[in-house]
Amino acid sequence: MSKSIDLTLKVWRQAGPKDKGHFETLRAQNISTEMSFLEMLDVVNDQLTLDGKEPIAFDSDCREGICGMCGAVINGRPHGPLKATTLCQLHMRHFNSGDVIAIEPFRAMAFKVIKDLVIDRSAFDQIIQAGGFVSVNTGGAPDANAVPIAQDQVESAMDAAQCISCGACVAACPNASAMLFVSANVSHLALLPQGQPEAARRAIAMVREMDRQGFGNCSNETECEAECPKSISISNIARLNRQFYRASLASSVK
C-alpha cells in the first residue's frame, strides 16, 4: 500500500562542463512510495521551478529500463541499491522516511558532465563505429532459416545483446573501464554464425577504440557485473579476452 515519506537529497549541481560543481541539499517531501525515483525528481523539479530556481537536469526517456538514457549514482551505487534495476525502475518503496540520498552523475574520464546529472556518452557510439556491427547491406540476405542456430547459443547471444549502453559498468569500475560494455557487444555477435566472419577484426578494433576514448583497463574488479541493470555477465569479458588474444596472434589486422 502506498504511503508518504520525506527525504533529504544531496544532489550534484554543475552548470556546465567547465563548472567545478557542488552538492546541493534539497528536501523531497510527501513522496508517495509508489513513485519511481525519477518521478520523485520530477516533483522536486516542479517545486524548484515554482520557487524560481533551476530544476535538476537529468536524462530519461523510456522510463521502462530499456533505452539506457537514465542513470545516476545513488548513495555510491550506479542506478541505486536494487539489483538489476535501472534508476527509472527504482521505486520509492525501497526508501524510508528520513533517508538522506546522495545523487551524482556517472563519473569517468570518457564521460564528461554536461550539466548536473547529464553526461556525454558518445564514446560508446564511437566504440560501436569501430566495428560493432555485421557488414551486410540491405537487400542481399539469404532466407532467415537458411542457417539453423542452436537454441542455447541464441539465448547466450541474447543475454549479451541486452546491454542498454547506460554506462553504469563504467561508473562502477574503479578504473572506469568499459570492458563489460565492449565484451557484451563483441560476445553477442561472436556467438552467432552471422557475426563470425568479422569476429577477430571486431574484437581488436573495439578494444583499441575503447583505449583511445580514455576508458581504463579491466583488472577483474567485478563491480561492473554487480551494478549492471541488465545483469550482463563478466564471462563476456573472459570471452572477449580469449577472442582478443587469439585474434592479435593470428590476425592480419594491424
Binding site: S2, S36, T85, K115, N137, T138
Partner: protein, 637 residues
Amino acid sequence: MLLDGKIPAGPLAEKWDRHRFELKLVNPANKRKFDIIVVGTGLGGGSAAASLAEMGYNVKAFCFQDSPRRAHSIAAQGGINAAKNYPNDGDSIRRLFYDTIKGGDFRAREANVYRLAQVSNAIIDHCVAQGIPFAREYGGLLANRSFGGAQVSRTFYARGQTGQQLLLGAYRSLMRQVAAGKVQMFARREMLDVVLVNGHAKGIVVRNLITGQLERYAADAVVLATGGYGNAFFLSTNAMGSNVTAAYRAYMKGALFANPCFTQIHPTCIPVHGDYQSKLTLMSESLRNDGRVWVPKNPGDKRPANQIPESERDYYLERKYPSFGNLVPRDVASRNAKAQCDEGKGVGDTALAVYLDFADAIKRDGRDTIARKYGNLFEMYDKITGENPYTTPMMIYPAVHYTMGGLWVDYNLMSNIPGLFVLGEANFSDHGANRLGASALMQGLADGYFVLPYTIGGYLVGSPKETLSTSKAPFEEAERGVQARIDKLMAVQGKRTVDDFHRQLGLILWDHCGMSRNNAGLEKARGMVQELRAEFWQNVKVPGTTADLNQSLERAGRVADFLEFAELLLIDALHRQESCGGHFNEAYQTPENEALRNDEEYCHVAAWEYKGIGQDPEFHKEPLTFENVQLTQRSYK
C-alpha cells in the same frame, strides 16, 4: 480537393514490382551528389539512413536523445510480423494483407498494405543477417508466436525485447555508415522547422540541445521519421520525449495531417497509480497468448483474486468472442475492459483494472516455460507494482499507445510537399483505424529498408537540383520564426509548470477523446483545449536560459505544439461521424456494441490542411477503394 495517393495501376500483387521497374533509377555514381536529411533514428529513420548511405547517398541523421540507439522503438516488446509461414499454419502474403486491412477496420490503402505484406519476409531475412538473436526452436529454426487479430502464428520475437534488438540492428548498420563517412550523425538535436525552397523541402532548423544554438541544415530531400504523437494524452506508453513537434511543424508548413483521431488504446498496461505519474508501462500483447482476462461476475466484489472461485469469474473475452478469445484486436479488448469497469466490475484500489491471469498457463506449461517467454515482463511488473505475477494475477488497464494517424503520404511515402518523405509511426499509411500487434515494427522497417530507398530516387531524378545553401532567405525566415517562439515561451514567466499544463491537456483528451467519444464531449473538449492554450501562453513558467541545456524549455515547446495539435485531433474526431477501429463514437454502434462503420460516407482518409492557429483547417479527402477485399462488419466471434 481530392487527394491522389499515386497508387500504381495493375493487379494488386504486381503493383510494387511494376512500380519499382517504372521508377527512374539514380545512376550509382550520381548518388553521392545527393544529400538527404533523415530526422529520427528509430526503426523507420535508422533503417532508412543506413540503407540510403549503403546505396551511396550522403545522409545527415538527427535525433533528440544522446544516441540514435535510444529512439523509442527500443521499447517495443512483443514482436514483428512476417508472412513466412514457417509454422505451416496457412499463412501467406495475402493473409497478412487481409488481416491487416481488416484489423484496421477497412480504413487503409489496399496497395500500401499489400506491399507491406510483400516485403515483410525480406525484413526478417535482413535482420537475421545483421545478427538479431530472434528466438529459435530446439531444431535451431526461428520460433513464432501469436498476436491479436490473427489466427496464425507469424510473430518473430527476441524475448520481450524485440524492438530493442531490431533497433540495435539498424543502429549498428547506421554506425557502420558513420564510420564509412556516409552518415553524419547529429544527436541531441531537436528539429523545430522544415525549410521549403520553391515549394520543395530542402532543409531543417534544429536546436542544439546542449548549447541552445539554432542550427540550419540543407539537403536535396528531407525524411521525417519522428514517431507517434501519443503523448498528446500526457500519460501513454510512449517515451518522455516523444512528440508531435516535427510532424506538426511540417503541417504548419503545408503538409497534410491525415486521420489524427485514429489513436490506439492498448488493452494491457499497468494501471494508473497516482497523479504524479509520468508515464504508463505496457505489458506486451504477447501475454494474451497465455494470460486469461477476467473480472468478478458480481459488481463490487472486493475479495482478493485468489478468493474468488472459478464459478464467480467472468472470462468475458473468451465468453463473447469464442474464436479469437483473449486474442481479439486491441480496440475490441480495450473497449471491453472499459465496459466491465463501467459496470462496476473493475478490480484493485481504483476499480479501473481487470485481471490477466497466468495460473492456468503455469499449471499447463510449467513456470520455467512461462518465465522463458515472459520473464522480463513479469519482472518489470513486479518492480513497478511490487506484486509477483507468478502467484497473483496481473492487473491491467488500457492506455494510449500508438497513433495510426500521421502526416499524409502517397504510395511513395512522400507528403504533399515535394521532397518531404515521412516514415514509420509519423505517417498515416498502413494501419487504418486500428493497428494490429507486431505490425508497427514491420512497417517501420519496411518503410526504411525496403520502400523509401527506392521511391526517393524517383523524386531526386525527377526534380530540379538546387545548390545546397543554408543562407537562402527561407532558412533565415524559418530560423527567425523558431527563435521568436522560443523567446515568447521564455517571456511568459507565469505561475504553472509545463507538466501541469500537459497533464491537464492529457486528461481532457482521455476523458473526451479516448476509448469512446461522443459529439457533445468532443465539442466541449475543443473549448477546453482553446482555453487551456490561452492560459498556457499567459501563465506557463519556463525556468533557466535559452543558451544551454534546458529540459523545461524543450518540454514547453512540445507541449505548446500538443496544445494546438489537440484541437486538430478533436476536429477530426468530430468530422468522422462513424465508429471504426480505435475511433468509437457512441452514436454509432452495432446492437452488440461493436464499432459501426459508415462506408457510404466515411470510406476515406481525412487529411487536414493548416490555415492558422485557431482557424479551422481545410478538409481534403482521399477516397479509399477496395477492389480485392469485401468490406464487412469485423467479427471476431
